[in-house]
């Protein structure tokens, strides 16, 4: 877990940076509103949104790194344990072809068993779930930044495209249903 002091420092810097970006945004919009129209004003607004996404992403990145470190720790610990088990089971260094084959078999069986046990464990599943969740949070921030940029370029963003997909899905469903009903009617009339 993140210690309280680290949390406070992160919160402080988040606040500090938001305070200044907000204030600069407020201050800059006044002269901009007076002297500029359209894109320049948008640019100021976009900068603030992108800055906010980057600040939040930074926090998620810290959490992501924490779970990634735990992920590799679990793999490394299991590797060390497996190697210990192999050494226990086959303490001699193989020096002929048959012994080498037997050693290889023992090595693979032990490593596969131990790693499968890890992948099947609650602690692995929990950490993996959090790791993926944080990765997805980072994706969300990236999407947020892309949305701002697409909007400023007057292009449809993810949300708008998803809306189109949803509408298309619903239309396809309706057409398929109508086709199926029409087919049934034709069949019935033909009989």
């Amino acid at each position: 877990m993140k210690s309280e002091s680290t949390q406070n420092v992160a919160e402080y810097y988040k606040h500090l940076s938001l305070f200044w970006t907000d204030l600069i945004h407020l201050m800059s919009t006044k002269p901009q509103a007076m002297t500029s129209v359209g894109p320049m004003r948008n640019f100021a607004e976009n900068s603030k949104k992108i800055a906010a996404q980057l600040i939040d992403a930074n926090e998620d990145l810290m959490e992501f790194n924490k779970h990634l470190a735990e992920y590799y720790k679990q793999l490394t610990d299991t590797w060390m344990e497996s190697q210990k088990n192999v050494n226990f089971k086959a303490p001699e260094i193989p020096n002929d072809a048959e012994q080498y084959e037997a050693y290889k078999r023992v090595w693979i069986d032990i490593f596969d068993n131990d790693f499968t046990e890890l992948f099947d464990s609650e602690k692995f599943g929990e950490n993996y779930g959090k790791l993926v969740a944080k990765e997805l949070e980072l994706t969300k921030h990236w999407n947020g930044i892309m949305d701002v940029m697409l909007k400023s370029a007057n292009l449809p963003n993810k949300e708008e495209i998803d809306e189109v997909y949803k509408e298309l899905h619903s239309l396809r469903k309706r057409v398929s249903k109508l086709e199926s009903e029409a087919h049934k009617k034709v069949k019935k009339n033909g009989e």
């Binding site: 020096n95 596969d112 599943g125 779930g129 998803d162 899905h169």
Partner: protein
């Protein structure tokens, strides 16, 4: 010298041979892209969006009256059921006189992210079955579902029992809480809402990750060592490359379908409890009263037998058979054992009821 390390000349010989095989491999083996996986001829009988219904050309004069519709899984592609002329599930059934159709789900794109179980079961699959009924002039078909296709076929058989004469469930995913595989452990821990809301369809990379943690050293290291050791064995290499090509090609899964799949099957385990809803209707396994043939593999590390077998006990069918085979998930459908044991039993069972 006391610390002298003695190395068996045989080991040195093996190492040198291995090195030579690695160098010569490109001359002896076709690249995966150059290998064609489909071996049995078929016609595309019906299409809807990206879904295709394949109708395999018969290899016998006399055919069984009731056609068999195979519902392939959502993971990887249907080629595994026709992976090699000598190990083809489809060809074997054709040779036994069955009329075989197969549902190929195609490759969903971002546009398909809102497709759900309702679209797959009551839309695509139902339209395929209706098409076959019309084409073959029958009132019912035999339905076989493999892996996740087994789940889709189970739901279909519950919602449209009037269309299904016989139901074959091959390693179906049914009871998610009993599944003992590492896949189910991951499925239980991922935040599927977050995944689908953020990225839409389930990306193939997630599946490749899941494959990578299944027996990582045997499947990720040893099998490639074996490939190079056996590089001169044409049969071995041909089989190996076909399976590898199949394994490395999995399509995305539509987001909404994936969401319901993970939540209802693995996380909340609704299907076996008769609490799952598809298209606004509750799925009751007790609606399955037609003859049922369930096939499971003891060594299945993708869908454990404990996850598949509850189907056999949950349905209301009086005529039901459960077969447990000493093989794995892929071995059950594409191996010499499947040709020798699994398929003759299935063909016999189907013919007796068709």
């Amino acid at each position: 010298m006391a610390n002298e390390i003695k190395i068996d000349p045989k080991i040195l010989g093996e190492i040198l041979k291995f090195g030579k095989n690695v160098i010569e491999a490109p001359k002896l083996v076709a690249a995966p892209d150059e290998i064609k996986l489909e071996t049995t001829p078929y016609d595309v009988a019906h299409r809807e969006d990206k879904v295709r219904l394949l109708h395999y050309k018969s290899t016998t004069e006399k055919q069984s009256h009731i056609p068999l519709v195979i519902v392939y899984a959502l993971i990887n592609r249907y080629h595994i059921l026709d992976i090699h002329p000598k190990k083809s599930w489809v060809r074997n059934l054709l040779d036994q006189g069955l009329d075989v159709y197969m549902v190929d789900w195609g490759t969903p794109t971002n546009m398909d992210r809102y497709l759900d179980f309702d679209d797959y079961v009551n839309g695509y699959l139902n339209n395929c079955v209706e098409f076959v009924k019309d084409e073959a002039n029958v009132d019912q078909v035999s339905l076989q579902g493999y892996c996740t296709g087994g789940t889709i076929a189970t739901i279909y058989s519950s919602l449209h029992p009037e269309n299904v004469k016989n139901f074959v469930a091959t390693a179906p995913v049914i009871d998610g809480w009993r599944d003992t595989t590492v896949i189910s452990n991951l499925a239980k821990h991922i935040d599927v809402d977050q995944m689908v809301d953020n990225i839409g369809n389930m990306p193939p990379e997630f599946m490749y990750y899941c494959f990578s943690i299944l027996k990582p050293f045997e499947q990720g290291v040893e099998k490639y060592v074996k490939l190079f050791q056996n590089i001169e064995d044409k049969n071995f290499v041909d089989n190996f490359m076909r399976i590898e090509k199949w394994l490395s090609d999995t399509p995305p899964i539509p987001g909404e379908l994936f969401r319901q799949w993970i939540k209802d099957i693995y996380q909340n385990n609704l299907l076996i409890q008769d609490k799952m809803y598809v298209g606004g209707k509750r799925i009751s396994l007790k609606n399955i009263k037609m003859p049922l043939f369930t096939q499971v593999a003891v060594g299945d590390h993708l869908v454990s037998p404990e996850c598949s077998m509850p189907l056999h006990y949950a349905v209301a069918s009086e005529d039901k058979t459960l077969r447990v085979y000493p093989t794995g998930h892929v071995g059950m459908i594409a191996s010499s054992l499947s040709q020798r044991k699994v398929l003759p039993e299935l063909g016999q069972w189907l013919k007796e009821r068709s």
